[in-house]
Each structure stands twice: as structure tokens, then as C-alpha cells.
């Protein structure tokens, strides 16, 4: 369970370009809840995700996982619970390392990276099987530097990397924005299966209203750093697509 209590974030406080990216966000996300987060550009969605992940320290408020107050815990320690796909496809992978090396590190997200060579035949086979699930033909390119792949391919792999190690919370920031429609379909389908199978507590940011309508069991809309709509599963199911389009009209 993720609890956000009175979260505020002001960038460049006291300067001419001061901006309130988040103004008092209170939110409780239950275990295995799949929240879809929508809102206009600059409404604070990515900032909210960064506050949950620990990449940004809120100016005010608390972040609580289950009973544990993690507000002051830096991102690399919060990774024990949190896996994420960044809005920027370059953010989640190390371009010069091979696909296999990237997956090895992802498989150790919650563990110590020790002085032993961890990539063996069994690990290779496991990664190959996982990647084959995507059906993008990347399973035969394990030794290739991940930077030589397209942004969409990297984004799809980053999603798989999230589940290489024990995960409670999955944060997806526009994971399919860089993908063509077919790959986007594959990635969202894969994500949905993984989320259900592993009972992950998920926050998905998307500008694709079809996806927002189709996936998840809670729908939140943000505007100007605040939550302005919060629909539970039943409300979301009853929501007509045209109604949702009208939110952005």
C-alpha cells in the first residue's frame, strides 16, 4: 500500500521561475491496485511518480509504503520495493552494456551486486525465454549493446527488466509513447499480464485515452499539481469513453 500525505513540491523556490508542480496531493493506493493517471502536459504526473520512487524529495508531506515512512529514503534504497519504466526511453537502460548485462543488473535490483560473475547459461536461457514473450525478435540479440536498439524496443525491454527481481510497486511513465501501435499493444498486453500475475501495485501514466479506458481498476486525473478526479473500479467501468474525452475538451 502506498500512502501519500499532503505531498507538495515546489521547484526553484524563491526564484523568479518558481513553480508548484504538486500542491497538496493526498492519495492511498491499495495493494494490487492498478491506477491509471491522466492529465495535461505539466500537470505533475511525472513529478508524482518521482516522489513515489524517491527520485524527488517532496518539499512537504510524507510518503509511506505499508507502515514504513520512506519519505527520506533515497531512490536507490527504495528500489527494494519499486521498479519503474521512465518516460524517456534512455532513462531505464545502460546503452553501452549488452541486453544480457542490463537484465543481469535488473535481476539484482533488490540484492547486493557482488564480486562474482552472475551471467551463466541458465541465466541466459531465462532471459531469452522472457524476451521471447514480447515477440519482437529481440531474443537473439542478447549480446548486442542495448543502445543499438530503437527507443520502443528499449522501452519494452525495460518493462520486462522490472519483473526480473521481486517487485511490489510498478511505476510506468508513458511506457508506450515511443512505440508504434502494434508494439504498444504488445507492451501493454505484457504489462497487464505481469501486473495481474504478480499482483503488482501499479501506477500507469498515459496520454492514450483508449488505454486509460481499457486498463487498470482506478482512474485519476491531475491538473495543475492536484488530483481533480478519482474514479474507483465501478465508476471507471461505467465511464463512457466520450465522457472521458470531454474531460480534456
Amino acid at each position: 500500500m502506498i500512502t501519500l500525505r499532503n505531498i507538495q513540491k515546489t521547484f526553484n523556490r524563491g526564484q523568479a521561475n518558481e513553480i508548484s508542480a504538486l500542491r497538496s496531493v493526498d492519495l492511498t493506493i491499495k495493494d494490487a491496485e492498478f491506477v491509471v493517471l491522466v492529465g495535461a502536459n505539466g500537470s505533475g504526473k511525472t513529478t508524482l511518480l518521482n516522489v513515489i520512487a524517491g527520485a524527488i524529495l517532496p518539499s512537504e508531506g510524507r510518503v509511506i509504503f505499508d507502515q514504513e515512512d520512506v519519505t527520506l529514503l533515497p531512490e536507490h534504497q527504495r528500489s527494494r520495493w519499486v521498479a519503474r519504466v521512465f518516460q524517456n526511453p534512455l532513462g531505464g537502460t545502460a546503452p553501452d552494456l549488452s541486453i544480457l548485462d542490463n537484465f543481469r543488473l535488473a535481476a539484482l535490483r533488490t540484492q547486493k551486486k557482488g564480486l562474482r560473475i552472475g551471467i551463466n547459461q541458465a541465466f541466459k536461457a531465462k532471459v531469452k525465454d522472457r524476451i521471447a514473450l514480447l515477440g519482437l525478435g529481440l531474443e537473439n540479440k542478447l549480446q548486442q549493446p542495448i543502445g543499438s536498439l530503437s527507443g520502443g524496443q528499449r522501452q519494452a525491454l525495460t518493462l520486462l527488466m522490472c519483473t526480473m527481481d521481486q517487485t511490489d510497486i510498478l511505476l510506468l511513465d508513458e511506457p508506450t509513447a515511443a512505440l508504434d501501435p502494434k508494439s504498444a499493444e504488445i507492451v501493454m498486453g505484457t504489462a497487464e499480464n505481469l501486473i495481474k500475475e504478480l499482483k503488482l501495485t501499479t501506477v500507469l501514466i498515459t496520454h492514450n485515452l483508449q488505454d486509460a479506458h481499457r486498463y487498470g481498476n482506478r482512474l485519476i486525473q491531475m491538473a495543475e499539481g492536484q488530483v481533480i478526479r478519482d474514479l474507483n473500479q465501478a465508476e471507471k467501468e461505467n465511464l463512457k469513453r466520450e465522457e472521458m474525452f470531454a474531460w480534456f475538451g
Binding site: 520512487a53 527520485a55 533515497p74 531512490e75 536507490h76 534504497q77 528500489s79 527494494r80 519499486v82 521498479a83 519503474r84 521512465f86 534512455l90 532513462g91 531505464g92 537502460t93 545502460a94 546503452p95 553501452d96 552494456l97 549488452s98 548485462d101 542490463n102 543481469r104 543488473l105 535488473a106 539484482l108 535490483r109 533488490t110 540484492q111 551486486k113 557482488g114 564480486l115 562474482r116 560473475i117 552472475g118 549480446q143 549493446p145
Partner: protein
């Protein structure tokens, strides 16, 4: 011929530093100027301990630790005080100049000809060949160890840190800690070059490190050109090519000198 062999041995001695600069420059993308100071530090520590009659294995270890400490300070200044890496290196290098001078107590110290690392294995009657063997031995050990470490899970984490900090943070890696460790390893390798060169040229001079970072950068640039030209991906091979770059650098210098190019030109 001897002239070129000498350049070759010097290249081998300096290749440890090349490996260190490969770590800072290619893996972490940090321009680390601490090198000038930690190289001299290695030579100073070596000269003092040799003069005091310490055994060579102990001297290597202490030299490496001294270099690591220098790198660690640069790393701490850079990460904790949030000072630009280049400036942090310059600060520590400048500080090391005073440290080296007060350690040595004077501006240079000759080393006795007996009992250097190069006279340990008198396999051949020609001393240059023995020096070559020792140089190769050190390169093989250091490059071998580094190649192993860089292939481990820890090494992958280190290589990823210089590549994508957002990724490594999200995967539970403490980037600051990695940089501190990386700078420590790099400068301990540099100090080992100081250890070797001091014994090779039979003296330690307080100014011997000035500008040495350029030699290291040159080696890495030559090595890197070969690596991308040949498309080498295996990290162990990359390290060997960096060492080769260092040797080529010295050979080119030797050729330039033998052509009679006036160094004062």
C-alpha cells in the same frame, strides 16, 4: 634496438595508469586529474619504503592503498561536497604535491640499483629482457584482475553507473559510492605505475607526475580508437588494447626522438 625496448618497458610500466584512466574516462566519463599527484605519490612511497628496506610485496600493497586513498578523497570531494569532478581532481592533485614534498623531504631521491622489482627475476643476462618480463608480469596481473572485476555483477554495476545514472539508481545502485570506489581503483593503478617507473628509472622526483595524465589520456585515446575500429566488445580485450595504446604512445615518442626532432621546438 635497445632504445625501442626501453620505450616498450616504459610503456608497460605506464599501462597500469592507462587502465586507471580507462576506468575514470571511459567508464565513469570523469576527467580525473588526481592522476598527476597519485602517480608521484606512488613513486614517493616506493622510494621511501625501499630506502627503509621494506620487502617489495608490502611496498606494492602500500603504494596501491596510498593511491586508492588519494582517489577516495577526490571521490568524496566530488560526491559529498558536490564539487565538479575536474576541480575536485585539481584540488587533490595540488594537495598531493605538498604531501609528496613533505613525505620525501626533498625534491628527489635516487634509488639504489640493487633490489628493485626489475632485478627480482634475473632470467636473462640482458637486463632489458628481465625488465620486459617484469613489465609484462605486472600488466598481465593487473589487467587480469581488472577484467575479472569488471565482468562480475559489481563490475556491471560500475560500468552501468557511468552509462545511465537514472537506471542505476532505479536498480538499487548507489552512484556516489560507485564513483568513489572507481576513483580509488583508478588511482591505485596509477600509483602502481609510479611504483614501477620510479624503480625503472632509479629515482623519484617530486615533479615526475606533472602532465603524466596526458600520457594516460593519450594511451586511452589510442586504445579506444583501436577498440572502436575493430569493434571490440569484450571488456578484457578492451583493457588489453588500452595497454597496447600506452605502449604505442611510448614507441611513437621514441621514434620522434630518434628522428632527432628537437624537443625544444
Amino acid at each position: 634496438m635497445i632504445f625501442y625496448l626501453t620505450a616498450l618497458v616504459l610503456g608497460l610500466c605506464l599501462s597500469a595508469m592507462g587502465l586507471g584512466i580507462f576506468i575514470t574516462m571511459k567508464i565513469f566519463r570523469i576527467p580525473d586529474i588526481t592522476t598527476d599527484g597519485s602517480y608521484t605519490l606512488g613513486a614517493v612511497v616506493t622510494a621511501l619504503l625501499l630506502a627503509a628496506g621494506w620487502p617489495l610485496p608490502a611496498i606494492v600493497v602500500i603504494t596501491a592503498l596510498a593511491g586508492a586513498a588519494a582517489g577516495m578523497i577526490t571521490g568524496l570531494v566530488h560526491t559529498r561536497l558536490k564539487i565538479d569532478a575536474l576541480l575536485a581532481g585539481i584540488l587533490v592533485m595540488t594537495g598531493l604535491y605538498s604531501v609528496n614534498l613533505s613525505l620525501l623531504g626533498r625534491s628527489n631521491l635516487p634509488l639504489s640499483d640493487a633490489n628493485t622489482v626489475f632485478t627480482l627475476f634475473p632470467l636473462f643476462s640482458n637486463p632489458v629482457l628481465n625488465e620486459l618480463i617484469v613489465g609484462l608480469f605486472f600488466l598481465a596481473i593487473l589487467a587480469g584482475m581488472l577484467a575479472y572485476v569488471l565482468r562480475t555483477d559489481f563490475g556491471l554495476a560500475m560500468r552501468a553507473t557511468g552509462n545511465s545514472e537514472s537506471m542505476t539508481r532505479a536498480l538499487g545502485i548507489n552512484n556516489d559510492r560507485m564513483k568513489i570506489i572507481g576513483l580509488s581503483i583508478a588511482n591505485s593503478l596509477t600509483a602502481i605505475s609510479g611504483f614501477l617507473v620510479a624503480q625503472y628509472q632509479h629515482f623519484t622526483d617530486i615533479n615526475m607526475g606533472i602532465g603524466i595524465v596526458l600520457v594516460g589520456l593519450g594511451s586511452v585515446l589510442i586504445g579506444d580508437a583501436l577498440i572502436s575500429w575493430l569493434g571490440i566488445r569484450k571488456i578484457g580485450w578492451q583493457l588489453l588494447f588500452v595497454a597496447l595504446g600506452g605502449i604505442l604512445f611510448q614507441l611513437v615518442l621514441a621514434v620522434a626522438l630518434s628522428l632527432g626532432i628537437d624537443p625544444a621546438l
